[in-house]
């Protein structure tokens, strides 16, 4: 083909001969990520295993299950959200979900005390939290989408305002409760994969699976949405309805993952941007699995490091926020994010 000459000269021009490398094709990247994810899971299951496998396998298996479900939910929700908002910096957390989660927990502790919070039936608490978050998001979207067509920016703005509002409210209540209650609350507000209830896990998995099936059927439409609202309409996508449906899916995913292990929403930004960086394609059929695999690698690998290197002396979200922050800064400084 005539264009290969142009391509080759460009590549040589842009990369000094010594550092020249051929970019991996998306299937190759996916294969490597899958291997890494498998290695991370294997390491998690076997490193430092002493005692009976009858105990270790179910015990660690449950944790792995939680990490895979949560990691996948965060990856999918972030990619979906960034597709419909046509940007790569905002995440669902901008809509105020993590803040709402914190507020709901704070209110429970504030009203019933730390003891009641710690002893409340986890299933009941989970249902309340998911219901509250989905309710909040539905309310927000229905109100926003009955208005002018281009309201996604408004949505984001409203999310910021709600976030600040919820955070301030939580902050106020956290200052009013006694130090013991506050300690219990703060412990709950950090993501932890050590305290996941297996019964919650099944419900969460079903919800995430349901959303995934819906997303799978929308894959080509998602690709079209990358072109922006006007081109999507031009190509025959019912934009308003599609975006509303996807926002609902995102809100379910974020609710489930946040209620399961606490707010780790910054993590989504990290894995989504790494996926865009590695995959170099607009196809969601490639980006979503890549983001999910990166997510699993980071969570499971991070947990191994946390448990074996730091000896449980830290919370996973702290490591994630630290690494994520660094990577995000690098991406920003390199100017790859528009």
């Amino acid at each position: 083909m005539a264009d290969t000459g142009v391509q080759r000269t460009r590549r040589v021009f842009r990369r000094p001969p010594g550092s020249r490398r051929v970019p991996l094709s998306p299937p190759q990247v996916l294969a490597i990520l899958a291997l890494l994810a498998f290695a991370a899971i294997l390491a998690f299951m076997t490193v430092g295993a002493r005692g009976s496998w009858d105990f270790i396998l179910p015990f660690r298996g449950t944790k792995i299950w939680a990490m895979v479900v949560v990691g996948y939910a965060i990856a999918l929700s972030t990619v979906l959200f960034q597709t419909i908002t046509a940007n790569r910096i905002l995440t669902p957390s901008i809509m105020g979900f993590d803040a709402l989660y914190a507020l709901i927990q704070t209110i429970i502790v504030f009203m019933f005390g730390g003891f009641a919070f710690a002893t409340l039936d986890p299933q009941l608490r989970f249902v309340i939290e998911v219901a509250a978050m989905v309710f909040f998001s539905t309310l927000l979207f229905r109100w926003l989408f009955s208005g002018a067509p281009r309201s996604l920016h408004l949505l984001v703005l409203v999310g910021i305002v709600f976030g600040v509002f919820f955070r301030s409210l939580s902050g106020l209540m956290q200052r009013l409760i006694n130090p013991n209650d506050f300690a219990i609350l703060q412990d709950a507000l950090f993501a932890s994969f050590n305290t996941v209830d297996p019964t919650l896990l099944l419900v969460a998995t079903l919800a995430v699976a349901g959303v995934s099936i819906a997303a799978l059927r929308m894959l080509p439409t998602l690709d079209v949405l990358t072109l922006g609202r006007e081109q999507a309409i031009n190509l025959g996508v019912d934009h308003k309805r599609t975006v509303t449906a996807i926002l609902m899916m995102v809100s379910i995913l974020v609710s489930v993952s946040t209620a399961l292990v606490g707010p780790v929403t910054f993590f989504g930004l990290l894995v989504a941007n790494l996926a865009y960086l590695l995959i170099r394609s607009h196809k969601h059929a490639l980006i979503v699995p890549a983001a999910a695999l990166i997510s699993v690698i980071c969570l499971v690998g991070g947990q191994v490091v946390l448990e074996r290197v730091f000896g449980y002396n830290s919370a996973l979200s702290i490591i994630i926020e630290f690494v994520g922050g660094l990577v995000f800064l690098v991406i920003l400084l390199r100017g790859n994010v528009r």
Partner: protein, 252 residues
Amino acid sequence: MIRAENVSKAYGDTLVVDGVSLELPAGGITSIIGPNGAGKSTFLSMVSRLLKMSAGSVTVDGMDVTKTPSDELARRLSILRQDNHIAARLTVRDLVAFGRFPHSKGRNTKADKKIIDQSIDYLNLSDLSNRFLDELSGGQRQRAFVAMVLCQDTDYVLLDEPLNNLDMKHAMSMMKILRRAADELGKTVVLVLHDINFASWYSDYIVAMRDGRICHKGRVKEIMNQSVLAEIYDMDITVHEIGGRRVSLFYE
């Protein structure tokens, strides 16, 4: 045929488009001209369902654009607006291939691929087809978007200022391509143009808007005369006839 009846758009108390009724015949190139703020782009956006009308109705071949399913319209009418920012990294071919979405729903067949190749060829983009959009010049990117719209293969092609940011050479070749699309492929092309000489040279019909209304419409010769242009633009414009075509001068 595109038929607009009493189409209006109001932002608050300001009427941007004020009761426009217009019939655009099938076939040929129609240019919409007029000063800034005349409501040309707004009108085009409403015709192509990108923008909600405050009042009025638009039908395309008898189909109401606000009520017909969007994907059905997408097989009849395509629209390209001025600034097309895309967050993802796409190659020219990826972009053009999106034009088949209304027909294939993302599963492109051999026939679709052939049309994609033809569209890329049509705009002389074969050499650039594997380049990423952010590596192209403004004019090349504009051509890629037009290729996508042609790939959509609709009877009606609406373009909002397709000559924006193009130099003389590229502007000319763009107009030639559109002229060919109208003549060879039988497309109905509707353009918003600022350069009245391009409108004069390449269109069949001209619609002139001012203050949200249509002030003149007709064949090129009816619009390209001194008094009509003076009324549209509120300035002295001399019109010369060169080789049977009309050219205007408005530089002092």
